[in-house]
């Protein structure tokens, strides 16, 4: 495994988490309104 792999994996996971979290947040906020 190349030594930079954990950095790349972290970046991909964090990006997915941020996008999914905001999409869910918007969904919940629009459901409440």
């Amino acid at each position: 495994m190349p030594e930079n792999t954990p950095y790349m994996v972290a970046a991909y996971i964090i990006t997915a988490v941020i996008l999914l979290a905001y999409a869910l947040l918007l969904y919940r906020r629009t459901l409440k309104s």
């Binding site: 030594e3 792999t5 790349m8 991909y12 996008l19 999409a23 969904y27």
Partner: protein, 221 residues
């Protein structure tokens, strides 16, 4: 509401396609020789950065027109675009240092590009805080428009900072005079990722715009 449903569908499709971009970037795009797999962060960092800057330019444009036309739709759009911009800005400011650590040997350095990007992000935060702090709708829209225009004026400095100042940050690879400095396989992956981020921006803005509308209707009901 059609706008809300369309926004939800576009966002959902964008998230599904993002998984496809992950597969293409990680499994079917060659590894760069000098940076190794850390270079693949580029496929997320750069589209997010482009949309962070573009969202603020759109906030600024909508704000300029709002000050002339006083159309509440422009104010609503500016608010929605700023909130989407903060999401993409968060991605830029997390993936950037994660790439910087293995390549530069440090998570962060106070060079022009990084500092100005952080400043742009803080402008977004300030913009949304200002909107939350002013209760009068007319004043809120006017104050926010002024701050939105200031934020948009910062964007050219953010983008050109790597040319204007000596920085650690790489020179533009895509948004520069002349063709992109990427092999075709990498360029295709980048373009697919950029397309997905564009979809997500559109989906987020449509939903956030619809949310503002729903809140206004509830207030007047």
């Amino acid at each position: 509401m059609n706008l809300l449903k369309a926004g939800r569908w576009i966002t959902a499709l964008g998230l599904v396609l993002l998984a496809g971009v992950y597969v293409r970037a990680l499994a079917f795009t060659p590894i760069e020789r000098t940076q190794g797999v850390a270079q693949k962060i580029f496929y997320l960092h750069v589209p997010a950065a482009i949309w962070t800057e573009t969202a603020m330019i759109l906030v600024g444009l909508a704000s300029v027109f709002f000050l002339f036309l006083k159309d509440p739709r422009l104010d609503r759009f500016a608010e929605a675009s700023a909130e989407a911009g903060i999401v993409f800005g968060s991605i830029v400011l997390t993936t950037g240092p994660i790439w910087g650590k293995p390549i530069w040997g440090t998570w962060w350095t106070w060079d022009a590009r990084l500092t100005l990007t952080l400043l742009l992000f803080l402008m977004y935060v300030g913009y949304l805080l200002l909107r939350g702090a002013v209760t009068d709708a007319g004043l809120r829209a006017r104050y926010a428009a002024v701050l939105g225009i200031c934020g948009a004026c910062l964007v050219p400095f953010v983008h050109l900072s790597v040319i204007m100042f000596r920085t650690l940050h790489p020179q533009p690879i895509i948004l520069k005079p002349g063709p992109p400095s990427l092999p075709a396989e990498m360029l295709v992956t980048f373009l697919l990722s950029f397309g997905v981020f564009t979809m997500l921006y559109v989906g987020f803005v449509m939903q956030r715009y619809a949310l503002s509308l729903l809140r206004e209707e509830a207030r007047h009901a």
